[in-house]
Symmetry: C2
Subunit: 472 residues, 2 copies
């Protein structure tokens, strides 16, 4: 270690205490590999501040020394956004020790939290106060709310409650110069200047570090009703969505799509999970209704909608869960799709969104194009259909090794992303850009948009030290 390097680390230790500056590779390793195990970066050190002031002091130090800063929450991101590059120049700043629920204002239905709070802890704290924090996603037991904000996470409740962006009223941010912006407002309306909050949300730590947030809470519904329906096609799944939306209005809180390929994959890797239907169908939709009136109201409403859909031939078969256990079993099928995929071997993932009016055409065209180029290829398509968000994942044809198939990633991305662009969609619906999709952006964004983004980056992070190599 050079003397200069030693002086830098000394300053870090002075800020957070020696126990919270890790340099030994055995200690830093757990922070340096991404969630899916696709990449391992290097860092000068891993530091764990315990307060906003410590974060600010560390960023000031990094600004002075021009040391890149990589903020990290639960390290559950899917686009290499929270791990450093291979250069070893960055300081990795783990926010996990900032994990206090600072305040709950029940009457205002808001909660002020540290960025390092685990999402499930935030959900639990809301529930303890008889309220709902509706952000919900697979990694909720590990991911942090700061990471959710930095990536504008989506999940299963977006249809009714919006993305993380819509669930946040105020932020506290450490800027690239190490100042603290206190924007922790608990207001539903505030038109006093530029929307800094939404600029930091979704910026993946490249403009500043989110250290705290004021979150919106909601009245807890009295009952949640789950149903699984069998369908002939994606198009029918979309038509059913419209029917249920019109019939049930905002009580519809979840609408997930799963193809037969997904269900078979789950059944083969998790045979103990129940099979919902005796027959097989091309597509399935998982619906969740939340009633503020009563369970009976919710059941009647959902059954009424499904009955209509059965009569008109839109739905082939349906089960409405009659107990919490049954509801959990239906959700378990959906939740086990990514796990079944992981068990089956590595595959090529796409997190895309489309206008609802273009989804059926996109799926038909892209399925066909892939089949032409890769006969026998398996499309594992599922996702948050209510938001137009599909996880359109591609597994190899039978007989081709998963590792070999990964070599086709760039070519397959091109087919999928070009079709997404042609249909007016997005190549990252809820996962962000990170380092993984950075080089895709110039292909699908206009020069005007990229220039605007670069101008913002230069304005708010003039030395380029905030999570470099991500997004731009």
């Amino acid at each position: 270690m050079t003397e200069t390097e030693d002086r830098f680390l000394e300053r870090c230790r002075a800020i957070v205490g020696p126990a919270h500056v890790l340099v030994d590779p055995a200690d830093t390793a757990p922070y340096l590999t991404d969630w899916r195990g696709r990449f391992t970066g290097r860092a000068r050190a891993v530091v764990s501040p315990a307060s906003t002031d410590q974060v600010a002091a560390l960023v000031r130090l990094c600004a002075e020394w021009r040391v890149p800063v990589v903020p990290q929450g639960g390290r559950t991101g899917l686009v290499l956004g929270s791990v450093p590059d291979a250069s070893g120049t960055a300081l990795l700043l783990s926010l996990r020790r900032l994990n206090r629920v600072r305040a709950v204002d029940g009457f205002n239905r808001t909660m002020t939290v540290d960025a390092g709070c685990i999402l499930s802890a935030v959900q639990d704290a809301a529930a303890e106060h008889g309220m709902l924090f509706p952000l919900s996603l697979a990694a909720e037991g590990s991911c942090t709310i700061g990471g959710n904000l930095a990536t504008n996470a989506g999940g299963t409740g977006v249809l009714r409650y919006g993305n993380t962006r819509e669930l946040c009223l105020g932020l506290e941010v450490v800027t690239a110069s190490g100042e603290v912006w206190d924007g922790l407002r608990g207001l539903r309306k505030d038109n006093t200047g530029y929307d800094l909050r939404d600029l930091y949300i979704g910026a993946e730590g490249t403009l500043g570090i989110i250290t705290g947030a004021v979150l919106k809470l909601f009245p807890q519904p009295k009952a949640a009703i789950t149903a699984l329906v069998a369908l002939c096609s994606t198009d029918h799944a979309l038509q059913l969505l419209k029917l249920v939306e019109s019939h049930c209005g905002p009580t519809l809180t979840g609408y997930e799509l799963m193809s037969d390929v997904c269900l078979r994959l789950v059944a083969s890797h998790f045979p103990s999970l129940p099979r919902p239907f005796p027959g097989r169908y091309p597509q399935y939709a998982l619906l969740e209704l939340s009633s503020h009136e009563s369970e009976a109201h919710g059941v009647a409403l959902l059954e009424g909608a499904i009955e209509r859909a059965l009569e008109s031939g839109l739905v082939q078969d349906a089960v409405v869960a009659t107990s919490i256990a049954q509801s959990r079993a239906l959700w378990a099928i959906r939740e086990h799709i990514p796990l079944a995929q992981a068990a089956a071997g590595k595959n090529i993932k796409h997190d895309i969104s489309l206008p609802l009016s273009r989804i059926a055409a996109f799926v038909a065209a892209t399925d066909a194009a892939l089949e032409t180029h890769y006969p026998g290829v398996q499309v594992v398509c599922f996702g948050h259909l209510g938001d137009g968000n599909l996880h359109y994942n591609i597994a190899p044809p039978e007989g081709i090794a998963h590792e070999d198939f990964l070599r086709e990633q760039a070519a397959i991305n091109r087919i999928v992303h070009d079709n997404v662009a042609a249909c007016g969609g997005s190549i990252s619906a809820e996962h962000g850009v990170g380092a993984l999709k950075r080089d895709e952006l110039p292909r699908y964004k206009s020069a005007v948009e990229l220039d605007l983004m670069r101008a913002l980056k230069a304005a708010l992070d003039p030395h380029g030290i905030m999570n470099p190599g991500k997004i731009l």
Copy 2:
């Protein structure tokens, strides 16, 4: 007119045609005075482009000549945001000729519109397609959707549907250098970089000019039910809000507060409007429920909530409208408050928001402070209580002329705004900053926040030509 000036106007005429470049004071006058008649500015000329490309060409010209550009929609703003200053250097750019509904995607529930569309025309176009565009405010027959976006307008539907920000999925913007950013996406999820959309929304034309937008539409509810209830206090109004939210969930779409002072003012200036109750009460709340099931469902739900509130003593008396005419009559009382105020004479207006948990304390403290300094002063307080947004307007004590009282504006603003700040509120909830509240910002925003805003302004409008003197 100088020769240089003449050449500039010649270039304008070449872009939009001579008929759309106004310089005669008789022609330009209607564009130069603000809605409330408080200020008349001057402009080099008033130009009316008919397309995004014409807007871009005009902005490029202004960038080249360093001529300030003031964009204007329906000129209904309340904070002097859309009229030029007194210097006469600015080009006023009226967006009113950009008034096409470009496309309606019924299946995606989105509508793409020109910025100059009148809000009520947007509402009507949605209704023609069997859908709802829920933005609704007093000026809806005159204001433009571009102005609504530029000021992030609020109104009466925010409780359920959010501010204009939440109703917009995509934007088209002419940047300060006269380029066109095509961000007209109709996606519920898109995490591919910085949130340019929300940066331009609410920026009041100081970073660029919004020329088009993709708006979110909603399923049309089957029935809207209106009720007016009489209450003992603001605190009871807040407790009732919580009770109704828990009982009715997202079917509650409107919750307005009006004091007895407001009702008496309306009754004295509009005696033909019906009086809802035989007795008088300190406060009233106007509730609107929207049911996607049926009118009977909505009525039963609202009556159930009100019955509980009557039993617990929270509500003193109540009327639930049993016809559309009766519902309109109840809304008419609320809508006539600003008209009655205008008829009574000029007053000192505040558009503030607060955490719901602080409203009762704010009102008590501020009412008392004003009474101490201005005995007999009249507080005309009403607004969107469900969003924590009050129009806290101050009229002179009896016997003092309205014009004389206006001299106290600065002192009264100080009392009100200091109390707002002490309660964690905002001095502009839904009207924006404009030129009117610009000098208030440095008092209530941190240096860090103002510096961030200035950095963004410098990055996106380096020559400072976009609506100068507004916000910053």
